[in-house]
Symmetry: C2
Subunit: 358 residues, 2 copies
C-alpha cells in the first residue's frame, strides 16, 4: 500500500542529514525529453599520454616532474583554491558584508599509473592502496585542519578535465557548510534518540532491503530514502566508525570490494563509464579531535548526474535552485526497475567493463 502510494503520488521526503525536504514526483519520467543531450565521452584514453600532467614521469604546469609512480601518487594542486597563508580580513564588519580568512591546502591524488583505468577496473589490492592513502591523508592533514574533504569528480560532465583516475583532497581551517549542517543534524539526532543517526539508518535499510544496491559483511550501499539525484547512493559501514582512518584492515578490504561492485553497477547501468562526484564525510578533525564525536558515522556520498541514459542528465535548475530539489522517479523505482534488471546482466556477464583492463 505504502509503496503504491509513493510510486503514484508526488510527495515530500525528509533528509535528516540536511534538515531539508525533497520533492519526489514519480510520474515525471513520462515526460518526453527534447532538451540537451550531452556529448559522448572520449572513447579511447591511452594508457600513457606524454602530454598528460598526471602520468608518471611527465612534467606538470609548475615545472615539477612526476616520479615514475606505480601505485597512488599525491601532489599539491598547481592551482589551489585554498592556500596555507591567507591573511585575516580584519574585524568591524557590517553584518551584510562579512568575510573570514580561508586557509588550507589542496592536494591531487592519482589512483593508478595508468590513464585507462577507473576504480571499478582496478584490482582489489590497488583499490585498498587508494583507501590506505585516503586514511593517511586524513590523519596527516586532520592533525591540524578541522576538515579534510576527499572528493572525486569523475567524467567531463562533472567538471573533470583529466581522464587519468584521480581524486582531490582539500583541507581547510573551517568546517564547510555541508559538514557543518551534517554535524548539527547528527548531533541533534544523537541527543534525542541516544544513537548515531546513520547507524540506525543502516540497520533499518538492511532490514527493509527496499533501497539496497550492494552489501557486504561490513558495508552497505543504498539509494537513500531522501536521495535527490536519480542514482544517488550512500555508502555506509555497519559498525560505528568515526573516520576513514579508523577502518580496520578487513574493513578496508571489504570497502575496496564493495566500491568495485557499486561502481561496476553504475558503469553497467547505461553501459558507460559512469560520471559522478563522490566524497567522504567523517567526524571533523584538528581541534575537534579533542571533543566527543559519537554522533558521527563515516559515510560516502555518490552524486551522479545522469537521469535517462548515458547522455541525458537530470538538470537541477530553476525550481531546484530557487525552491526545492525535485526528482522524477522514486528511490525504490531505481532499485526495483533499473538496478534489478541490471543485476541480472551482471550475473550473466560478470563485470563487463572489467575485461578492458586486465
Amino acid at each position: 500500500l505504502y509503496a503504491s502510494y509513493t510510486s503514484e503520488h508526488q510527495h515530500l521526503r525528509y533528509n535528516p542529514l540536511r534538515d531539508s525536504w525533497v520533492l519526489v514526483s514519480a510520474h515525471r519520467m513520462k515526460r518526453p525529453w527534447a532538451g540537451q543531450v550531452e556529448k559522448p565521452a572520449e572513447e579511447h584514453v591511452p594508457r600513457y599520454d606524454p602530454c598528460n600532467p598526471l602520468c608518471p614521469g611527465n612534467t606538470r604546469a609548475n615545472g615539477e616532474v612526476n616520479p615514475h609512480y606505480d601505485s597512488t601518487f599525491v601532489f599539491e594542486n598547481d592551482f589551489p583554491a585554498l592556500q596555507p597563508d591567507a591573511p585575516d580580513p580584519g574585524p568591524h564588519q557590517h553584518p551584510l558584508f562579512q568575510s573570514k580568512a580561508a586557509r588550507g591546502v589542496c592536494k591531487v591524488m592519482c589512483f593508478h599509473p595508468w590513464s585507462d583505468v577507473t576504480l571499478p577496473l582496478m584490482k582489489k589490492e590497488e583499490v585498498v592502496k587508494v583507501i590506505d592513502k585516503w586514511a593517511e591523508l586524513v590523519e596527516e592533514l586532520g592533525a591540524t585542519y578541522p576538515w579534510v574533504q576527499i572528493f572525486e569528480n569523475k567524467g567531463a560532465m562533472m567538471g573533470c578535465s583529466n581522464p587519468h583516475p584521480h581524486c582531490q583532497v582539500w583541507a581547510s581551517n573551517f568546517l564547510p557548510n555541508e559538514p557543518a549542517l551534517s554535524d548539527r543534524c547528527q548531533r541533534a539526532y544523537y541527543q534525542k534518540h541516544g544513537e548515531p543517526l546513520l547507524l540506525e539508518y543502516a540497520k533499518q535499510e538492511a532490514e527493509k532491503k527496499e533501497r539496497v544496491v550492494v552489501e557486504s559483511s561490513d558495508w552497505l550501499a543504498v539509494v537513500p530514502y531522501w536521495a535527490t539525484w536519480p542514482y544517488q547512493t550512500l555508502l555506509l559501514p555497519r559498525r560505528h566508525v568515526l573516520r576513514i582512518s579508523d577502518l580496520t584492515k578487513d574493513e578496508r578490504e571489504d570497502l575496496a570490494d564493495i566500491m568495485k561492485r557499486l561502481l561496476t553497477k553504475y558503469d553497467n547501468l547505461f553501459e558507460v563509464s559512469f560520471p559522478y562526484s563522490m566524497g567522504w564525510h567523517g567526524a571533523p578533525t584538528g581541534p575537534y579531535l579533542e571533543g566527543d564525536n559519537s554522533h558521527w558515522q563515516l559515510h560516502a556520498h555518490y552524486y551522479p548526474p545522469l537521469l535517462r541514459s548515458a547522455l541525458v542528465k537530470k538538470f537541477m535548475v530553476g525550481y531546484e535552485m530557487l525552491a526545492l530539489e525535485q526528482r522524477d522517479l522514486t528511490p525504490e523505482q531505481v532499485i526495483s526497475t533499473t538496478w534489478l534488471c541490471e543485476i541480472r546482466l551482471l550475473d550473466l556477464s560478470d563485470m563487463r567493463f572489467d575485461v578492458r583492463s586486465y
Copy 2:
C-alpha cells in the same frame, strides 16, 4: 587596501539570506581549462515552428490546441511535478523515513507569440505585460497556496527544452527549502536590526557602487557580495515591497526597463543569448497573508552557469556539493573587469542583440 586583499587572497564570504558561506578564490581563473566545452546553442530559431507545442495555434501533448495568443499565454504544465490532489501519506513515521503530502499546481507561461525573441529583445510594453501576468498569478494562486515560485530556465544548458520564450509558475501547499531558509534569515535580521535585510543591503550597495550592474530610480541589480555563480545577480526594488503583486504601475515599467538592460548586458558579455535560471522570491502567501511579513523584501535571483566564455561553464561539483561553494573570481572583479568593458561596447553599439527582432 581591502579591495586588494579580496582580489589577492582566498577568503570566505557570508550569505545572510542562506546563513552559509562561499569560498572566494580570485586566483583560480589563472588555471588553464582542458575540460568540457558546451555545444553552441542552436543558431536559428524560426519565429513560428508548426511542431513547437508552445507556439500559437499549435496542438500540445494532451491534445489541447493553443489559442492564437498575441501577448502572454498561460496553461497547465502537461507533465506537472505537483498536482492538486495527492493523498496524505499518513502519520506514525520513523524519524529517518518521514514523508509529507505535496500538493500544488504547475503552470507554463509563454512571454510572447514569437519563438525567436527573448525578454531583452522584446519591447518594453511587452515585458510589462509579462510582469503584470506574474503579479496576477501570484495573487490568484497565492490566495490559497503558501508559495508561488515563478522561475525561468533559459537555454539548453539550464535544462530548458524549448526555445520559445517562457517561464514556469509552480504553486505548492508547503514553503520549499529555499524560501523557508530565506524567511528565517530575513526574520532574524529584522528582529535584531529593526529593518528589512534586503532594504538595508540595497542602500549599502547603492552607496558603495562596487557591485552594481544596472540601476534605475526604482530598482537595483548587483552581483551580490556573497554570489556563488560567477555572474550571479540580485535584482531589488529600492522601496520596501513584499510581493510582485504590490508593485505600482511605475515600478513595473521601470522593472521592464531594468530587466531589458540587465539581460542585454548578459547577452553582450559573451555575445550569446545568455543561459540562466532566474526566479522571484517575495513574502509567502496563502495562510501567511494574515501574518506580519515586514521582514520580507521582494527580489529576483539570476543564476547563470557560464564562467569563461559562451561555451565554458562553472562546474558546481565535488567540493561544492560535498563541502562549500567555491568561486574563481570575486564579485568586484566581475564588475571592474568584465562588465566595465562591456558597458563601453554597449555605449558604442547600443543593444546589439536588439537589432535581430525589430
